[in-house]
Symmetry: C2
């Protein structure tokens, strides 16, 4: 059944037709934001992957869209699943993928091997801040809980594949993947994957440790026998660390005035470098502000 | 003066309201394409940059939008300008930049140090194939000569910053840059740079030699004193090589039936992996087919 666009537009809430462009740059808006413009990432939704050579990749998990897959990932982390894993696939302008690959291991208790499809949710109850620019893929796009989201004409919503997005590798449809093998986007947003794969998170720190890895020369960027996969030393949840050792991250929330200003400033870059503002921005070029706090 | 959208739509030409989705995948369409669907890249528009360790980056130049800047680049190449240059800036999800940096050298004959702004052209005389999906930045988007192009309400058109796009680094507006320092996009399309910088080309082979370089830890990804820039061994035009040693590349042209099929197939991915087609594609995710020919 096709729904009209009306519920989508209602879901987006009322937007001023032409809000003023902020005088501050995007980074100035972030620097001058009020503490209430931010939410903290919960420690059990902060996945810390340490690659060999102390290269730390920090991932925020999102339980709203793929709760069963995220539960699996939390179980894998708690059970040290990836301690002997590797990054075994790096495809340019696409993904870096890691896990245990072809190794055979018994799944930990509490893991569901082929969870239900968690690719979309109903837009019912979703209140998004609109992007304010057209989207090439969906009826409209915006932000929910500080995450980029697409809203479709059929009344569904999905997280989107942007730079840094973490998804669950899977076999052919209808396999959904357990979450044992994960990938992060390291190129231009492959939005055609939206609604086809469970998106479970995003890299919020250390993406360069994945994006700058040597590309694999095999099909789809898999490493060949003569190429060395990057070893994973450890993958844990921040909640597994003593409280005083946990890193802490904050995400700017879309209900804040600062976020609205930030999106408009990103869409209307000014200052001494720019000759003309774009007057638009695509969902994945907004780059939701995320920061580490409490670091020395 | 603001023009109506009518000339833009005329420039795009008549499009079927709902062309059929091809049964073949994008790669099958490329494999089965007729030779007439392709144009060859002219040897004097093929820039070959060899980084240390025989890493070859091949760039196609485009004279249509920034002719004076491209002339400069051809003069630089002919005069061995970059033989002692480096890749000295790598910013994650943004750019890799190369040139002679702060080295002081006399410009070769025929180089104009601060060319006119060549950021947009008039849409007059431009006949583009439409993308068929909305664009977040421009009135409409499409393809001209096998290049992604944005068309604006003010009657101008520009090349666009997609993955692999090569542009001319410059100082603050109104400096336009000579072309001595160039960058390639190695992340999600920073389309806010469109109409603000001279786009002169795109990497058509070997982008991974730039995108997988270590990120610089300085501001904007510049390498600090303790980081080693990548040395450039040689930058030449293919036309400077003996004819039998020249590499040869072909670009699929947008006037071919195959190109239309390819875009529709990219927007409607099917096959055993996909659960649902996107029914849309953004300009930079189309990835115009380009291939090397005549290689052993």
């Amino acid at each position: 059944m096709m729904l009209s666009l009306l519920p989508l537009l209602l879901a987006l809430g009322a937007q001023d037709a032409d809000p003023p462009v902020p005088a501050m740059s995007p980074s100035e808006i972030v620097e001058n934001s009020h503490p209430s413009a931010w939410r903290q990432v919960a420690p059990d939704h902060l996945l810390i992957m340490t690659l060999s050579g102390d290269r730390e990749v920090v991932i925020e998990l999102n339980s709203r869209f793929a709760p069963r897959h995220v539960l699996n990932i939390q179980r894998f982390a708690e059970n040290g699943w990836w301690f002997d894993g590797t990054v075994y696939r790096v495809q340019d302008n696409y993904v870096a993928q890691w896990g245990i690959g072809d190794a055979e291991k018994d799944m930990p208790d509490g893991v569901v091997e082929n969870p239900p499809e968690e690719y979309v949710t109903s837009i019912e109850g979703i209140r998004a801040r609109g992007l304010g620019s057209p989207d090439s893929y969906a009826a409209t796009a915006g932000f929910v809980d500080g995450w980029p989201v697409a809203l479709y004409r059929d009344g569904t919503a999905s997280l989107t594949h942007c730079y840094g997005t973490v998804g669950v590798a899977r076999g052919l449809h209808p396999q959904t993947g357990s979450g044992s093998e994960l990938y992060a986007i390291i190129g231009h947003a492959p939005r055609h994957l939206d609604r086809n794969i469970a998106i479970v998170g995003r890299v919020i720190d250390g993406i360069e440790h994945l994006s700058s890895l040597p590309r694999g020369s095999g099909t789809l960027g898999f490493y060949e026998a003569n190429e060395t996969p990057t070893e994973i030393d450890r993958v844990i949840l921040a909640s597994m660390l003593p409280e005083e050792e946990r890193p802490s991250y904050e995400v700017m929330i879309e209900t804040s005035d600062e976020f609205g200003d930030y999106v408009r400033a990103r869409a209307n870059r000014s200052g001494d470098f720019f000759r003309v503002p774009a007057r638009g921005v695509d969902l994945c070029n907004v780059q939701v502000p995320i920061r580490e706090v409490g670091e020395d």
